[in-house]
């Protein structure tokens, strides 16, 4: 078998917090192959977010090893990590993290600004990504003029704009209602179907059921790692919810 996209060996992270050390991650070894859709679950304080931040090169481990597509990432300097975040990883956050008073297109183009892509090319690529997430007509809207679901889709378009190898989503549906959550998950499933590797952190079982594989954390360790036999189809669910709502509204 080819090299896994993500390999961690005994990955550990500890924080100094008010005089004593907190072991957030106590040696995690997992392999994730290209094309997988993984949900990382666990209660708060289980280390799942810490694991996610390490995968995203937002934080550096205090022990163990992390290889991204065979390249050793742990131990790289901050500029090299910035380059990896810029070109190989796309982030989707719970609170969307779009720049306020900045158009959707410019938000999507943001990563390209830091990889030295010229203005016209930036605009072209951002426009294409915006169309892919179904918001072609909202390019010049500011985040405040978009609904939560639309904002998250803009954020997904931003994550995709630099053609990353990995999408990391940290509670992407945490701030959304059920139907919008399903729509966002449908979009992620669609991307995964096209071959994109998606790693998603959530504490909701409903959301984890859309993934193909679920890794469960507790107290800084992996306690369970299993494949989902038949992941639910978010698009179908979203359609059902929409239909129900139509019926609801039609009622006198």
């Amino acid at each position: 078998m080819s090299t896994p996209l993500i390999t961690t060996r005994e990955l550990a992270k500890s924080y100094a917090l008010g005089g004593f050390t907190v072991q957030a991650l106590r040696g995690v070894s997992v392999e994730i192959n290209a094309g997988e859709f993984v949900a990382v679950m666990g209660p708060s304080g289980s280390g799942k977010s810490t694991f996610m931040n390490l995968l995203g090169c937002l934080d550096t481990p205090s022990g163990g090893e992390y290889l991204l597509a065979g390249d050793r990432v742990s131990g790289l300097g901050s500029d090299a990590l910035a380059a990896i975040r810029n070109r190989r990883i796309g982030f989707v956050f719970q609170s969307f993290n779009l720049l306020p008073r900045t158009s959707a297109l410019e938000n999507i183009a943001l990563p390209l600004l830091y990889s030295g892509v010229a203005g016209e090319e930036r605009n072209r690529r951002a426009t294409a990504r915006l169309a892919e997430v179904g918001l072609a007509d909202r390019g010049h809207h500011h985040p405040a003029q978009l609904s939560g679901g639309q904002q998250q889709r803009v954020a997904i378009a931003r994550a995709l704009v630099n053609d990353p190898v990995l999408i990391l989503a940290d509670e992407p549906t945490g701030a959304l209602d059920t139907q919008t959550s399903c729509e966002v998950m449908a979009l992620l499933q669609q991307l995964n179907a096209q071959g994109m590797t998606v790693v998603l952190v959530t504490h909701e079982h409903d959301i984890a059921e859309f993934a193909k594989r679920v890794i469960t954390f507790r107290d800084g360790r992996v306690i369970e790692d299993h494949m989902v036999e038949r992941p639910k189809d978010a698009a179908v669910l979203a359609a059902q919810l929409r239909a129900e709502q139509v019926v609801e509204e039609a009622r006198p």
């Binding site: 500029d79 910035a82 975040r85 070109r87 993290n97 720049l99 943001l110 931003r158």
Partner: protein, 410 residues
């Protein structure tokens, strides 16, 4: 990331907090405007003062004979009879930096004329004297070559003498007696007022040098035709010290002084006034620098303060930018450009305010103002430097944030 993109981001960030940005700029605006106004008014005043000082004769050298020694007692400057009228003419002829060189004889005496009498100083002068000492004939006419050649008994009266002898009546054409010698008054001199030493410069009578020598002082005999002093005016823009050196060289040759010997003459100038002028411009410069640095420092601290607030407020934005691939130096550039943009816009507004207030002051107060390109360039450079200097610390603070901590910042 290029500079243009950084400037666009900076302008957007500044637009978001319009009032705050404007208030922050106010420090720089006032600072730059103050500097430009002060330089405009200050240099206008200075050039006016310089003109006045020039009128006093800072480019004037007085040449006098050296001291004589009699039985071991030195008699002081001017006590020897080594200086001749010809020396004065030779200086005029041979030293190119000299505009006018006027040999002068001085005497005092009782003057009788009109309705009274008056004791005053009279000078026997050559026509160059008027140019050398900035005398202007107010009424009547000056000396002509024929007056000098023929030792004509004609005189020009200073304002004080004219008033004391004739009161309000016109003295031109009247006859006066100087040491009992009758003279015709051919003109009066324009009023000069007091000298720096408090002497009345208008208490004076001018007559041809030949007349003074032959008819009043009685020094006609003798071949040398000695004079009491020579007034030498140096052309504008020529170096005083260089001109002095040339005059000294010429006189040493003419007087056949051996290299080891001392000069038998002295050269004096108004170096005190000159150094006073330098002092005044130095003080003016210091004053400007003090005002400029205080106000620009205050403006700069304002910028630093607001940039620190801005970095704190936008920590999450910084975190996000880092998450999508901004390096530390991208963040540094962004905030630095923002600070510089803030300072430069403030600087440009300050220039506009400074120039218009200078013009307004010039119009309203009637002061001479002088607007140059240098203070404007200086102000622009200074504001950019302030942006860099006071923006660097907040920008570096932003660039050193850890991405994960910045993202999680509440």
């Amino acid at each position: 990331m290029n500079v243009l993109a950084s400037i666009r981001i900076a302008l957007r960030a500044l637009r978001i907090n319009k009032l705050r940005s404007a208030l922050t700029m106010l420090g720089i605006i006032i600072g730059v405007a103050a500097v430009i106004t002060m330089i405009a008014v200050g240099s206008g005043a200075q050039s006016q003062i310089e003109d006045q000082i020039k009128g006093l004769g800072t480019n004037l050298i007085i040449l006098m004979p050296g001291s004589s020694t009699s039985g071991g007692v030195r008699m002081g400057a001017g006590s020897r009879n080594t200086l001749t009228e010809e020396d004065g003419y030779a200086i005029q002829r041979d030293v190119s930096a000299v505009q006018a060189s006027a040999p002068t004889l001085r005497g005092t005496g009782q003057v009788v004329g009109g309705s009274g009498n008056w004791s005053t100083v009279f000078y026997g002068v050559s026509p160059e004297y008027f140019e050398a000492r900035n005398w202007v004939v107010a009424q009547g006419k000056g000396f002509e070559a024929a007056d000098i050649a023929g030792s004509a008994k004609v005189a020009l009266l200073g304002d004080t003498v004219a008033r004391n002898l004739f009161g309000d009546t016109d003295p031109v054409g009247q006859v006066i007696r100087i040491r009992k010698v009758p003279f015709t008054v051919i003109g009066t001199l324009e009023k000069k007022g007091q000298s720096l030493m408090g002497q009345d410069q208008d208490d004076v009578i001018l007559m041809p040098i030949s007349t003074a020598r032959n008819r009043v002082l009685g020094q006609g005999a003798g071949r040398l035709r000695t004079v009491g002093s020579v007034s030498i005016k140096i052309r504008d823009g020529e170096s005083m010290t260089e001109a002095e050196a040339q005059i000294r060289e010429l006189l040493r040759q003419r007087h056949r002084i051996q290299p080891a010997q001392e000069d038998d003459f002295t050269l004096r100038n108004l170096s005190e006034v000159l150094s006073a002028r330098e002092e005044s411009s130095k003080i003016m410069g210091l004053l400007l620098a003090a005002v400029a640095s205080v106000s620009l420092l205050v403006g700069g601290i304002g910028i630093m303060n607001i940039m620190l607030v801005s970095v704190t407020e936008r920590t999450r934005e910084i975190g996000l930018r880092m998450a999508v691939g901004a390096r530390g130096r991208d963040i540094l550039t962004q905030f630095l450009v923002e600070a510089i943009t803030l300072a430069l816009i403030g600087g440009l507004l300050g220039i506009a305010l400074g120039v218009s207030s200078s013009v307004a002051i010039g119009k309203l107060a009637g002061w001479p103002i002088q607007l140059g390109i240098e203070p404007v360039a200086l102000a622009v450079g200074f504001s950019a430097a302030i942006g860099i200097f006071f923006g660097f610390y907040p920008a570096r603070k932003a660039s050193r944030l850890l991405p994960i901590e910045a993202l999680r910042y509440e």
